[in-house]
């Protein structure tokens, strides 16, 4: 089962998340099987219905990777990031990012949708391989919506911790910072590209395509 789950994560949640119905009431939600709530495609379809969606790949230089880490104030070492832009009638509706991270010993996949104003519009748990007891309940995830990348987006500042799910709280806050930093750096690169085009300068030669490393921002 564990291997199957790992395969599901590695396969970017391509498998259907259908869970067979249990006969009769199941035990309380403590521990238990890992949860896959939504596939990536399902999450995008639900977040952006009737939108034109485009997967965009950004190759980061070492300096850009370092800038993401500095902005995020959390470790970041990716050289390739993926963003899913959704437009309706040409108008940008939002940009989705997926972050796979370890909570304690197992992984969580989050989708974070960033609105045109660079603030978090939706945060949804796609998969959670730790016991569901580690998923923060109550109002916790709601603290992220509407937030941008600033010093307040930190545990013990605008984001309150949660008893019993400290590791998930840390991992989620780090993921939010990481993805917003990626979003900001992508925006800076796009702006730079526009400026260069306006000056009539040639675009830099594309970096050789590299296979995306596993994990993190995908």
């Amino acid at each position: 089962m564990r291997r199957l789950l790992a395969a599901s994560f590695a396969g970017l949640l391509l498998a259907s998340a259908t869970v067979p119905a249990a006969p009769g009431p199941a035990p309380a939600m403590s521990g238990g099987a890992p949860k896959v709530f939504l596939t990536r495609e399902e999450a995008l379809e639900l977040a952006f219905p009737d939108c034109e969606r485009k997967r965009l790949t950004t190759y980061l230089t070492k300096a850009q990777t370092k800038r993401v880490a500095e902005l995020a104030k959390v470790p970041f070492d990716r050289s390739v990031v993926f963003a899913y832009e959704a437009r309706r009638k040409g108008e940008l509706v939002g940009t989705a990012y997926f972050d796979t991270h370890k909570v304690r010993t197992h992984r969580e996949i989050l989708m974070i949708v960033v609105g045109p104003a660079a603030r978090i519009r939706r945060i949804e748990v796609l998969a959670f391989a730790e016991p569901v007891d580690y998923l923060p309940r109550g109002a916790w995830y709601g603290q992220f919506t509407g937030r941008g990348l600033d010093d307040e987006l930190e545990l013990k500042r605008a984001i309150k911790g949660v008893t019993g799910a400290t590791l998930t709280a840390r991992a989620t806050t780090a993921a939010a910072r990481r993805l917003l930093a990626v979003h900001q750096v992508r925006g800076e690169l796009a702006l730079e590209k526009k400026r260069r085009a306006a000056r009539g300068g040639a675009a830099p030669a594309p970096r050789p395509r590299r296979r995306a490393p596993g994990g993190e921002v995908r």
Binding site: A21, P25, A26, M29, E124, R137, A139, Y141, G142
Partner: protein, 349 residues
């Protein structure tokens, strides 16, 4: 709001149904959606409709958003009628009705008090002068609701959706799901639960007010909504002094803490408003309130000695089961009620 937890992972849907479960943030809180449908994508689309209904409610009511309709009303000029959308007029009408029913113990106009105690921040104790000013700004008599218009009549009057927004959102979400071919619907919005289309009762865990991570009672329902209030959930601390987040609009101060109070009602708006209002009224008045009304049931949990005293209205008799030995469960007599207390099934929609 103290979190209620669904004890259920799956509750015997027909074999051909596909279960959907989602965890997503909305209205500044967590939403857990569970439902069953004949086909996965249909179920997911239905869950998204429920989520969109909540997002629409948030855009209308959230005073955390400067451009929400309610925030614009809060900023409207004094004495000038302000046109409301049909939805907001209905929301405010419903909140005002529950405010009147509780004699003002639930009050949607406590925005000035929330600000004075800094309940949206780390919390603080206001000076007596600040408290007097904030209290003077509260009260529904400072707002004239006239069909599709609202007129602010008092400087500083601020509507605060914290006590009714979730209920309105949950009712809207269930209403939109009524058109979908789904069953076994459970929506958990930051601890307030709404249920629909279950053929069997769903066991829900009621938290121990002394240790909110620990379930102490099981409450079984097939439909309706459940909301619990207690001061254990949000530990605000004003300079080392703990302060409760449930304010008594009549005194301007946090309501005395006695444990927790759970309201079961047919509609989420009723459960939401009353869980706050009846906590403010206190255990005895809360139980008496529910005994006098159809479709409202109340459970009061109070630490007593080393254990927990649970008192409930008779309509919950067949629905409650202690989960820990320390709970002493008793049902209050319906003899004082002017209208017979509802039987168990009268809670069902």
């Amino acid at each position: 709001m103290i979190t209620l937890t669904s004890l259920l992972v799956a509750c015997a849907p027909a074999a051909e149904l596909v279960e959907i479960e989602r965890r997503v943030a909305v209205m500044g809180t967590n939403l857990e959606v569970r439902l069953a449908a004949g086909e996965r994508m249909a179920g997911l689309r239905a869950s998204e409709r429920a989520l969109r209904a909540l997002e629409e409610t948030e855009r209308r009511l959230s005073t955390w958003l400067a451009d929400s309709e309610l925030a614009r009303l809060n900023a409207a000029a004094l004495g000038v009628p302000h046109a409301l959308s049909e939805a907001l007029a209905a929301d405010l009408g419903a909140a005002a009705a529950w405010s009147r029913a509780t004699g003002g113990a639930f009050d949607p106009t406590v925005g000035s008090l929330v600000a004075a105690w800094d309940l949206r921040g780390p919390g603080r104790v206001p000076s007596p002068a600040e408290l007097r000013g904030a209290l003077a700004a509260c009260g529904l008599d400072g707002l004239r609701l006239d069909g599709g218009d609202a007129t602010r009549l008092r400087e500083g009057l601020a509507l605060e959706e914290g006590g009714f927004g979730k209920g309105i959102g949950l009712d809207a979400a269930l209403a939109t799901l009524a058109d979908c071919d789904v069953r076994n619907v459970l929506l958990d919005l930051g601890g307030q639960i709404a249920l629909a289309a279950w053929s069997e009762p769903v066991p829900l865990a009621v938290a121990d007010p002394r240790e909110r991570g620990r379930p102490c009672l099981e409450l079984s329902l097939r439909s309706g909504s459940v909301a619990t209030s207690g001061n254990g959930e949000r530990g605000l601390d004003a300079g080392g002094r703990p302060i409760g987040h449930l304010l008594d609009p009549r005194t301007g101060r946090p309501a005395p803490d006695f444990g927790s109070l759970t309201v079961v009602a047919r509609d989420a708006i009723a459960a939401d408003c009353l869980s706050t209002g009846l906590f403010v009224l206190g255990p005895e008045a809360a139980l008496a309130f529910a005994l006098e009304r159809d479709g409202i049931e109340v459970l009061v949990l109070e630490p007593a000695g080393g254990g927990l005293r649970a008192r409930a209205t008779p309509g919950l008799r067949a629905r409650l089961r202690p989960l820990i030995e320390a709970v002493t469960l008793e049902f209050v007599a319906a003899a004082t009620s002017t209208t017979p207390s509802p039987q168990a099934d009268s809670l069902e929609r």
